[in-house]
Each structure stands twice: as structure tokens, then as C-alpha cells.
Symmetry: C2
Subunit: 210 residues, 2 copies
């Protein structure tokens, strides 16, 4: 497959493909001469993954590139690679670790994770992310109680362990594992979000509409 065919098959314009190649999101094709390279199904698949992460997940190109780099570093053990991928999915976050409110929220998050006996890296950025949301909720006058947080956490754990993790082929090739993890996190995550909004609309119609 040449670049023009890859473009036609994926719907991504050639200059954009070249841009992804430059940024390292897409591996180089196999050079057949100084001005010709051959692309395969793996490239098409990768391209679809990139578009899904960009358009559905709104991930910045830089994060996608980190994920790709972790996949391609053969030295890196699988669980570390998954961690790298996972953390690249976190929101940027604005670092304000100095104020007291934030510190208390972070404490609540750590306690929650301890009590649930979850295995989450002590420095995982996800912890900070959750703490920030708790602070905002407080400031906006809709605080989340420890009790409901635990409830929601249980729910999510059931969802993840019963339905999502089973689909990830941890024993297959490393690329496949991250790909599944990332797709699971981003696309299923978005799907849940949309379903939640649909449920909300339906409920508020039921309550309010004539």
C-alpha cells in the first residue's frame, strides 16, 4: 500500500499522514527506494486508533506519541508500559499542591484507595486528578460524600473487572495489550459517559415534561 492508498482507505489526508509520521505516531513504512515506501494493515489500524484517540478521546498528539513510544520500547516490561499508557490518558492537570483544601482532598483520595485495597501507584497522577475534582465540587457547593465515593468506586470496579479486563489479551503481543487497554479506557469510557447523559435526559424529561 502506498501513502495515497493508505489515505484513501483511512479517510485521512496525505499531509496529515505525513505529519503523524513526523511526530512518530505512525511508524515509517518499509522503504522500497529513495522515494517510495510500502504501508500495511498495521498502519491502517494504527491510523484508526490515532483518529479515535484524537476525535473521541480528545487526547493531545503529544500524549499519543508517549503511548506509542512506550509500546515500541522493547526494553520496557509490559506492566510498566501499560502504566505509561494509562498515565498518558490522564488530563493535563494544573498543579496547585500548595493550598490546604487540595491537601485534604488528596488525603481523602488516598484513604479511599487504601480502604478499598486497590493497587494504585502512590504517585499515580490519577490520584491528583480525582483530588482536584473533589476540591471543585466542594467549592461549587455540591460536595461528594465519602460514602457515595465508595459506592461509585465499587460500581466502577465491578464494571471493570467483570466486563472490561476480561477482553484484554495480556498474554498476546505487547502491542495488542496496550491497544486494547487504550481502546477500553478511552472509547468505552466515552460510551459510558454518553449513556449517562442519555439516562439523565430521560430522567429529567420524566420529571419535568408535561
Amino acid at each position: 500500500m502506498r501513502i495515497s492508498q493508505l489515505s484513501a482507505a483511512s479517510g485521512v489526508p496525505i499531509p496529515t499522514i505525513k505529519y503523524y509520521l513526523r511526530e512518530g505516531l505512525l511508524p515509517q513504512g518499509e522503504q522500497t527506494s529513495a522515494t517510495r515506501a510500502e504501508y500495511g494493515d498495521a498502519h491502517l489500524r494504527r491510523l484508526r486508533l490515532i483518529r479515535a484517540l484524537l476525535e473521541v478521546g480528545r487526547l493531545p498528539v503529544a500524549s499519543i506519541s508517549k503511548i506509542v513510544a512506550a509500546v515500541e520500547d522493547e526494553e520496557m516490561p509490559v506492566h510498566e508500559m501499560l502504566g505509561t499508557a494509562h498515565y498518558a490518558l490522564a488530563s493535563p492537570g494544573e498543579s496547585r499542591p500548595d493550598d490546604e483544601e487540595h491537601h485534604a482532598a488528596r488525603e481523602r483520595v488516598d484513604t479511599l484507595i487504601d480502604e478499598l485495597e486497590w493497587s494504585v501507584h502512590p504517585e499515580a497522577p490519577t490520584r491528583e486528578e480525582l483530588a482536584q475534582i473533589l476540591v471543585r465540587l466542594d467549592q461549587l457547593g455540591m460536595p461528594a460524600s465519602d460514602q457515595s465515593m465508595r459506592h461509585y468506586a465499587d460500581l466502577m470496579m465491578r464494571l471493570v473487572s467483570e466486563h472490561e479486563m476480561g477482553k484484554i489479551p495480556f498474554d498476546g503481543p505487547r502491542e495488542t495489550a496496550v491497544e486494547s487497554l487504550v481502546i477500553g479506557t478511552v472509547l468505552y469510557g466515552k460510551a459510558f459517559d454518553v449513556l449517562r447523559r442519555l439516562a439523565q435526559e430521560s430522567e429529567s424529561a420524566r420529571i419535568l415534561d408535561p
Copy 2:
């Protein structure tokens, strides 16, 4: 409160506050003279809401401004206002209604909503949003079965009706109702997402780590 105090209290720089005033995200303060205006707690609260929607929800300023406009249009009935707010929360979406795959996915979404007997507007952009995600999942080789979709939908509905909707004061002032709805949708939505990622990390550590 003058603008400099509003800025100090919220942590938002003065030029940014001026920008929000220009864009109509923040209502004008009460003019006390040609070059002086007074801001109150409502402004501070609104400012925090704006920052939460921007930084946590990643909503574009234009969407926030639509929500605000709906709140401030006294003519608009409450359920329509909530709808406007709700649809402003949807992802932009790229409109490709021509291809067959997409059409089939849309059909699946409509069927799902029918079978669940949810009250969702037939033209709700949320339907398209979900259809697009289904298409991507298919293309990426991780299709979501009707069965699991129904399962997830049930779960979300329980979450929403048992825990979220109860907190929204539909009978109070209109501003409060949308505010709660929006905070609920965006911030709780993000909180669930983060909890899901934490659960995922914990599960993959359990499976993979020595």
C-alpha cells in the same frame, strides 16, 4: 467587590475576567459610575463554575456561553433550558451521516433507546455521538454487543436516577437547576471516569505485577 478583588478571590487574572465579561460568560457587575462596577458572590460562584467547566470538563467557551444564554432567557421553559444546557455538553462531533456503517450504528442506538423506553428527543445529538463511538469500536475490532450495551445502560440509569437526579432542585430558581445539572453532568462524569481508570490500574496490577 471590585474586579481586582474578584480576581484575587477566584485566582483568575483580571484580563481573563474581562474576556469572560466580553464573551457573556459572566454577567456585568452593577455599575456604580462610569468607571466602577460592583461584583457580588454570584459572580464569584459563576467564575468557579466557568473554570470547572473549562478545566475539568474541557468545554469550549462557546458552549458555556450557550448554556449561560439559555439560563438568562426568562422566556424559555425550564425543561427546554435543561435540554439546551445538556446538548451544549455533547462533543462537537464530525457529521458523516452518509456512510452505511454509521447508519446501522445509529439504528442500533435508536433501537436500544426504544427498548429501554427512555425519553430521549429523537434528534438529540447524543444519539449521534453514541453511534459514532459504536462505529469506531467496530472498526478497531472491539465491537460492543447489544447485550452489553443494555447492561451498561441499565447501570447508568440506576446511577443517575438513584444518586444524581435527587440532588437537582427542580423547584428552586432556574439558575440553580441548570447549575446543578451541569455540575452533575460534567464533574461527576469526570469523577466516574477517574474512578474507572483507578479501578483499571488496580486490576491490571493485580493480574500482571509480580
